[in-house]
């Protein structure tokens, strides 16, 4: 079985690596995006984001006049440690807690924190007279730090899903799958070889792009490279598997493209590639959990920005592994070699 998987794996690798245009595109797209966005969006953004420590998911503006301030986005949060970490990294400009003992936390190194604090103090002089201030220190996370895992994850998603989905449909249309069907190769072996091939290739590409951008832009890396590498591998497997399900029976490239886009676009928008889903409704946040990219990005950002350990990201890795097992299982079951 492994000999057959290796034969198909090797054949697919050669095909991909010798298709110089596709290979170059897979390498260049993320680099261009990362550098472009880091320069275009690298400065301070205009919106002020204030965390509100409370049990409810709804901001009640009557609680405090500050919560009625225009041009500020108020994000309810229950996790105090997480919110404080975000203040230290300038991801939240201010954290407030109202109630019996009102308090707020601000990072003195954050310019936006300074202005958000002024707005808080001036919103209601009487009410804020007794509010307690605490300072949190820490360097800002640049947009490049935050967006790097997102872009690498997005590139991985496109490469895995289109790179496998389209190729399998092309193989089916041109009769190559039918030729393989006439050999002792099983659908499980074929699918495993495709998953392994794309996983190895995209992981190598991701490592190269990460290393280059990390060295040039000096992006943040708090955790272990090994853990990040593991996240990339498990993430790639899950996304290739998802691509295989979509292409398991499809015989038209146009239909495959439509189906892949139908999955890719919501995944890209809801998984937090470009912006955080902080503040989005719980329905949207829960919906995002069904996408492998959400787990990949959560885990990668935790490792890179928070220094998360293997144990910390284990839930994400387990979720990705479970998704992969489900995708491969369904894919092998519904897989069709021929057009009819």
């Amino acid at each position: 079985m492994f000999r057959r998987i290796y034969a198909i794996f090797q054949g697919r690798n050669r095909e991909f690596l010798r298709d110089k245009a596709s290979f170059a595109w897979n390498m260049l797209l993320p680099v261009v995006l990362i550098f472009g966005l880091s320069f275009a969006l690298g400065g301070d953004r205009n919106a002020y984001t204030v965390g509100v420590l409370q049990d409810s998911d709804v901001i009640v503006t009557e609680q405090h006049p500050f919560l009625d301030t225009r041009y500020m986005r108020f994000v309810p949060t229950r996790d105090k440690d997480d919110a404080l970490r975000k203040v230290s990294r300038h991801q939240l400009d201010l954290l407030v807690e109202f109630g019996d003992a009102p308090r707020y936390w601000v990072n003195p190194d954050s310019s936006k924190g300074y202005f958000a604090e002024l707005a808080l103090l001036q919103s209601d002089a009487l009410a804020t007279a007794t509010i307690e201030k605490e300072q949190i220190t820490g360097a800002a996370i640049r947009y490049a730090d935050w967006v790097l895992p997102g872009i690498l994850g997005m590139n991985m998603m496109f490469s895995c899903m289109f790179g496998v989905g389209y190729v399998v449909v092309r193989y089916r249309k041109n009769g190559f799958l039918k030729r393989l069907r006439a050999t002792p190769l099983t659908s499980f072996e074929f699918i495993s070889a495709q998953v392994a091939s794309r996983m190895v290739l995209i992981t190598c590409i991701t490592v190269i792009v990460f290393t280059a951008t990390h060295m040039i832009l000096d992006t943040r890396m708090e955790g272990s490279y090994f853990t990040l590498f593991l996240v990339a591998i498990v993430g790639a497997i899950s996304m290739v598997s998802l691509g295989l399900i979509i292409s398991a029976r499809v015989t038209s490239e146009e239909l495959a493209g439509g189906l892949l886009n139908m999955v890719n676009w919501p995944m890209m928008l809801l998984s937090g590639v470009w912006f955080s889903l902080e503040g989005a409704g719980s329905f949207v946040q829960n919906l995002a959990r069904i996408f492998p990219l959400t787990h990949v990005l959560d885990a990668a950002r935790s490792v890179m920005l928070d220094g998360a350990t293997l144990g910390d990201v284990a839930p994400s890795l387990l979720a990705l592994t479970a998704l992969s097992a489900v995708f491969i299982g369904i894919g092998a079951r519904v897989f069709r070699w021929g057009q009819y």
Binding site: A7, G11, F176, R179, A182, P184, W337
Partner: protein
């Protein structure tokens, strides 16, 4: 003689169409079996059912007396009518990849020599001519030292020289002991290569046997051909079987001398008369009544 392959009452139905309707035949060891018929006769569907590529609506396929399964996949070599190979791979890599899929393996050098691929080993699959490509596809079909080889219209689109080279190749495979199932719509190919044939039309087998046996059963004698334009009047009074096709009159006769004597008063130019042996194309046209390449 041992039966390698047996197809029993195969039926394949698509909505509104019966592509294969009760096809049965068997292939003995060491024999080249030809499945003949025009395009759309159901040859490829029949063979793909046997190869396990598509499923039959009903019927059974046995390989050495057992339902075709794992052993069949290991021991059968298949060349499809249309097969794409992976882009960017060389001839050598393609052969090696397929060879790795089997437990039974042929000697690589032998296949390369047999299929005359020695000079093409490092060439990209996409840069092969039609004949070279067919030789590569045949090499791929031979990587597992097959005991049974399926060749589905292997010479379609090849020039006459490449076709004849391919026939030599097929004969060399057979000489090594493999049984062959050949589908073709070229009757000359079948006549040269096949020991047994089945002629299919509209999804059914309409004649089966050895080419010589079938021709003997159908024709007692030779065929005299002459252009219709050379006739002075009709041939109603001649006591022979007469066919007309594409401006040619064919007279089947067991006594050429007597037939020529009867014909000569009705023909303006005797120099245009041809006398030949009946062939499979004649047989097919007689049986089906329409053109082979329809």
């Amino acid at each position: 003689m041992t039966t390698v392959l047996e197809a029993r009452d195969l039926v394949k139905e698509y909505p509104g169409v019966i592509a294969v309707n009760g096809v049965s035949f068997s292939v003995a060891e060491g024999v080249c079996f030809g499945l003949l018929g025009p395009n759309g006769a159901g040859k490829t569907t029949t063979v793909e059912i046997i190869e396990g590529v598509i499923s039959a609506t009903s019927g059974a396929v046995c390989y050495y007396g057992e339902p075709a399964g794992t052993r069949f996949r290991q021991e059968a070599g298949i060349q499809f009518q249309n097969t794409a190979l992976q882009d960017f791979l060389t001839v050598r890599e393609t052969i090696q990849m397929f060879r790795a899929l089997y437990d039974r393996k042929a000697d690589l050098d032998h296949i390369i020599e047999q299929c005359s691929l020695g000079d093409l080993l490092d060439r990209d699959n996409r840069k092969l001519s039609g004949g070279q490509r067919q030789r590569l596809l045949l090499a791929v079909a031979l990587v597992n030292r097959p005991r049974l080889v399926f060749l589905d219209e292997p010479t379609t689109g090849l020039d006459p020289q490449a076709r004849r080279n391919f026939w030599d190749l097929v004969q060399s495979i057979r000489a090594e002991g493999a049984s062959i199932v050949l589908t073709t719509h070229y009757m000359d190919e079948a006549q040269v290569l096949c020991d047994d044939i089945a002629i299919m039309d509209a999804g059914e087998i309409i004649a089966q046997g050895s080419p010589n046996e079938l021709l003997r059963q159908r024709y007692q004698g030779l065929i005299i051909e002459l252009p219709i334009s050379d006739l002075t009047d009709d041939l109603g009074q001649i006591e022979h079987t007469v066919h007309e096709k594409l401006g040619i009159v064919e007279v089947v006769t067991s006594d050429v001398g007597s037939s020529l004597q009867q014909l000569s008063p009705h023909v303006t130019n005797l120099n245009h008369i041809k006398i030949r042996q009946p062939n499979l194309e004649d047989l097919f046209l007689d049986l089906t009544g329409h053109s082979l390449r329809a």
